[in-house]
Subunit: 726 residues, 2 copies
Amino acid sequence: MVTPTSTTPVSTASAAAPAPGSGRGGVLRLLRYSACSLLPSAAAARSGARLTTALRARTQPAEPELVEQSVNTIRFLAVDAVEKAQSGHPGLPMGCAPLGHVLFDEFLRFNPKNPAWFDRDRFVLSAGHGCMLQYALLHLAGYDAVKMDDLKAFRQWRSRTPGHPENFETPGVEVTTGPLGQGFANAVGLALAEKHLASRFNKTDMKIVDHYTYVILGDGCQMEGVSNEAASLAGHWGLGKLIAFYDDNHISIDGNTDIAFTEDVLARYEALGWHTIWVKNGNTGYDDIRAAIKEAKGVKDKPTLIKVTTTIGFGSPNKANTYSVHGTALGSKEVEATRSNLGWLHEPFHVPDEVKRHWSHHIDDGASLEAEWNARFVEYDKKYHQEAAELKSIISGELPSGWDNALPTYAPEISPDATRNLSQQCLNALAKVIPGFLGGSADLATSNMTLLKMFGDFQRDTPEERNIRFGVREHGMGAISNGIAVHSPGLIPYCATFFVFTDYMRASIRLSALSESGVIFVMTHDSIGLGEDGPTHQPVEQLFSLRAMPNILMLRPADGNETSGAYKIAVLNRKRPSIIALSRQKLPQVKGTSVDAVSKGGYIISDNSSGNKPDFILIGTGSELEIAENAAGELRNKGRTVRVVSLVCWELFEEQPEEYKESVLPNEVTSRISIEAGVTFGWEKYIGQKGKAIGIDRFGVSAPAGKIYEELGLTVENVIAAAEAL
Amino acid sequence: MVTPTSTTPVSTASAAAPAPGSGRGGVLRLLRYSACSLLPSAAAARSGARLTTALRARTQPAEPELVEQSVNTIRFLAVDAVEKAQSGHPGLPMGCAPLGHVLFDEFLRFNPKNPAWFDRDRFVLSAGHGCMLQYALLHLAGYDAVKMDDLKAFRQWRSRTPGHPENFETPGVEVTTGPLGQGFANAVGLALAEKHLASRFNKTDMKIVDHYTYVILGDGCQMEGVSNEAASLAGHWGLGKLIAFYDDNHISIDGNTDIAFTEDVLARYEALGWHTIWVKNGNTGYDDIRAAIKEAKGVKDKPTLIKVTTTIGFGSPNKANTYSVHGTALGSKEVEATRSNLGWLHEPFHVPDEVKRHWSHHIDDGASLEAEWNARFVEYDKKYHQEAAELKSIISGELPSGWDNALPTYAPEISPDATRNLSQQCLNALAKVIPGFLGGSADLATSNMTLLKMFGDFQRDTPEERNIRFGVREHGMGAISNGIAVHSPGLIPYCATFFVFTDYMRASIRLSALSESGVIFVMTHDSIGLGEDGPTHQPVEQLFSLRAMPNILMLRPADGNETSGAYKIAVLNRKRPSIIALSRQKLPQVKGTSVDAVSKGGYIISDNSSGNKPDFILIGTGSELEIAENAAGELRNKGRTVRVVSLVCWELFEEQPEEYKESVLPNEVTSRISIEAGVTFGWEKYIGQKGKAIGIDRFGVSAPAGKIYEELGLTVENVIAAAEAL
């Protein structure tokens, strides 16, 4: 078994240079890839070209006995890991082991020593609780992240085998799953990315983007609305290289799915434009599974759903086909009974030598696959240099130098405008200079102002375009965007709806934050300022509810400069998503704002005090910064010293050195007033217990925006009154 | 036209006594109902019995010309109101006016003078942006809430005709809609409630619960995942009296639905177990609409989706069938062109006399319908007194006296237990004494501990039972629960999932709060204390994100007494939903907690200080109250005076008098430490700028719970260290 240990990037010539070695393993040993090796080198290409023949036999299935052994290895790795942890979900891995074996061993194209190889097939376990299936497969396939010790540390502190698959913990795991339906929608995003890139970069004489996306989803995923949203879009877009396996085991936590889930799933998918196949015996019907995958790969114009009927907890004599095997360790007695039942009379965590030997071919094969691709890319680069450069940027995530110069700046004299309009200028500016910038709206493109004017719509027959039409499917949109973001470091997806409808997609926003997917959430109509649509459409608590979320930036720019600054931050933060809250209504260009100051999160807009000791500090965000400025003007006219602070992004302000924070909000000055068209809850952090927060501690109301601002007290007069009361 | 103005409740004998009058209107004039008149009286029954014949002709359609006039009246009321407001959505009302007319005038059973009459048909406009359709219909039908002046005040401050239908503003509007898909799912909840109550209370010789639920949904509603979740359940449950009209107009905000929505909707619904009908000409095919509704009413075992193909903005020569008529006033020129095109040469807001005259029959008919039902109820009460008493309680919302005595109390000696288990004791205790108490979980009944042991499952053939199996459909569950809650004041639905998955259902939780639906959200596994499932399942920011939401109670009980107290609060708050966060792990019964103290939101658990001046105040919630108590014990051993405060519900604490708050958290004591297994953001409110918040400002991690508590610093030692540092 070949076990390269070097982590030298392939792009250094020495690592890729030929060295002594014989036969298949020998040559391949030299092609070492680290997780950060994303781009091919010429040297790699030279070696790769010689390796094609070595792969000939790889899609031939192993001998039936060996397959059975491998499948039982997978089953018992799951059983044993869950048993050791006394926590976890053995049922799915036991039922899906045959599918997992066939898919990973016979179909999936990957390089275990470089999990980040660009043109790999993507695999998503949407039913993430069954993660021991994935860990067992990654282990057998030779991924460095999942060694035997990792399997034994399942669900323990700091292990690389957490209770649900986490892309940020385990190289080889594409997306973070567990919350049901999300992974499936991520897979739609992955497949979208492939289709988009393939149509942009493939040439009639050379395919440089060509991989499949496979996903396993269970009954729970099927029930979640987000999966229907994503499935409807996948069918609409004709994502032919998306192949979904529905683990139809009839069991969910509450028992038989008959109690809550009796729809005809295949008929629903057909209605959504999918090709469907039913493998009736997913427990032992290996050839049926193989035939189904082959059939699915042959259907180019539709995604395929393969319903694989399995028995949850297959092999457990007393617990198979019951909910008790879903999410609980079998217990030592039942483990023994299962070993006996399946003839697996080994110690825990046993991997038979012949199984090891068999799976070891993936190390060679994977290296070979990548090497072939690398060679192809070198050719591609020669013939299509411009496209290759763009694709490289998408693969590596390296931003073109000077990209941020494209963002517009604004003088105070420039006409007032809604920040949603200014946002559109940013989006269009960025799409011109960043090859992987693409996105769209949940049927509000003309309200969110998110259309990229130089591009058409990403559609079934125009997948090279970059305006994505998500329909009214916020949740699916968020999860699909997460999938696009994790496909390639240089893909920067944005997605848009009204700010209040972050509530519809909060679960996907959270996963964006958790899984370090740098999606840009463009959220317009960010307050009561939207007026007549009323409280169902007026966010009041959303700013705080999102400021409370870890690893995400909640930005609320006040004008053109801050909008550009917000986008600069959003593009730079590739492992931390950004939410940009934007106004429907026109706002003036505020004197004192700047693009770069946004990076500090909070900064001084204006001040007539000296010695860092103003009488008052007025703090505003977004559309209310104008009110703060106007109130400051009046207070200054009355002889007071007033500082106005824009707190455009709380998270970034918190990250500044104490000294800077003190220079903006000196401890000594306790007469602080905040004004923001949202709940005041949380403002205590910056105004202290002696300050005054002006906001809206109730739901909004349907009326013209100006009237609401006035009636709810978001006025200059109220700020002045508050200042006088302090 | 009969226009009763009295608001005297019918339950006083004088209001219901016969008085002079002649003919149909004369007799009916006497049956006056206010919105708060929910229950029939014997006197009403006596009158009502005489009125049956008056209704004979009501389902006969009006003459075709009159129908056309009525339909154009509806169209132009919408056009004119939007034009006057220069804001709103004329397209849907113009397209759906024919359907609206037929449904309201010929099928819907309601009493306009008592919108709260129990056995009315329910109507929901899920495509809430088209609310001028509903307002026009309510106006014509004689609802007092929508007079002509109200129509003219469309979308203005304090009007009863806000920009989307709001049940709390406009009697006659059943649910608050606008966020797409929600109303449809609410309708599933309304139909569930009907089916449940019908099966519980109807007798072979007497139907006392017998009404339909109608809902109009558009393309946007269809795309939202929440509607698929709800539709799947409606099909599963066989809600035969749910009739949904899909306004198939092919236009959404971004243009033709072809750009994002090409699935076969009817086929999808068939897969979900619905009966489907297609009315191909919804613009002028009145008889087709009638036939479809009749057919749908005849299908008893399945809900029906009637796809009604319409033209958005029907009649507008230049804007019909375009997105520009969706959400913008037509403009005066196009309004004139539309008047001319449809031959409607009237002033704005014109209602022809013959249309008024025709619609006026609903006032008599409605009174008659209710009177008939009242008479039937009196009979029912005589024959089935026990059931009648239960039903009365459900109709009125009056809780049985002493209901809260059923809630268990706990001495400190009682064994530690998870609050999710203690919650189940409360649920079971309440279901025994409150006739309208029912609910369930999103496929986590055995984890959330929500099964009512004395009842079976609400299912297609056992709808009299009270355990609802929602499947893995949190969003649909929330919206369906909202529908159940607004069906009858005495229906108290609870619904459950893991606390982190409030993110999946946040949009429905918000609507619960906004629309004053007193749903109880039972949210278990409320922190990192759930352990190995890891960060995807561990809430950290959810407490704050929900504390930020208006009109909702976020409760986090620490033990048995506080759990009982939380349920007491939740049941009492019928217009403010409650979220109860509960632990997976065992917690001790804390000395000093009490059921009743929960009503104050925050209170002193223990204290060894005097003069309201402890050295330290330790504030905990839920599972961390124990840590606070233990730390206090150690600090006291070191000679310090320490007060421990349980802040079980911030909203309730905020509502206490200043004096009380000062008695718990005296301003003078600034050495305050909070401990809570969630983000610290927001705690500044109670600990002040000198206090210390111990919490988790990051995502969680997969490991055994005790290990995570220790590693993330939620320990007694850390509290003591913080105290020493202060």
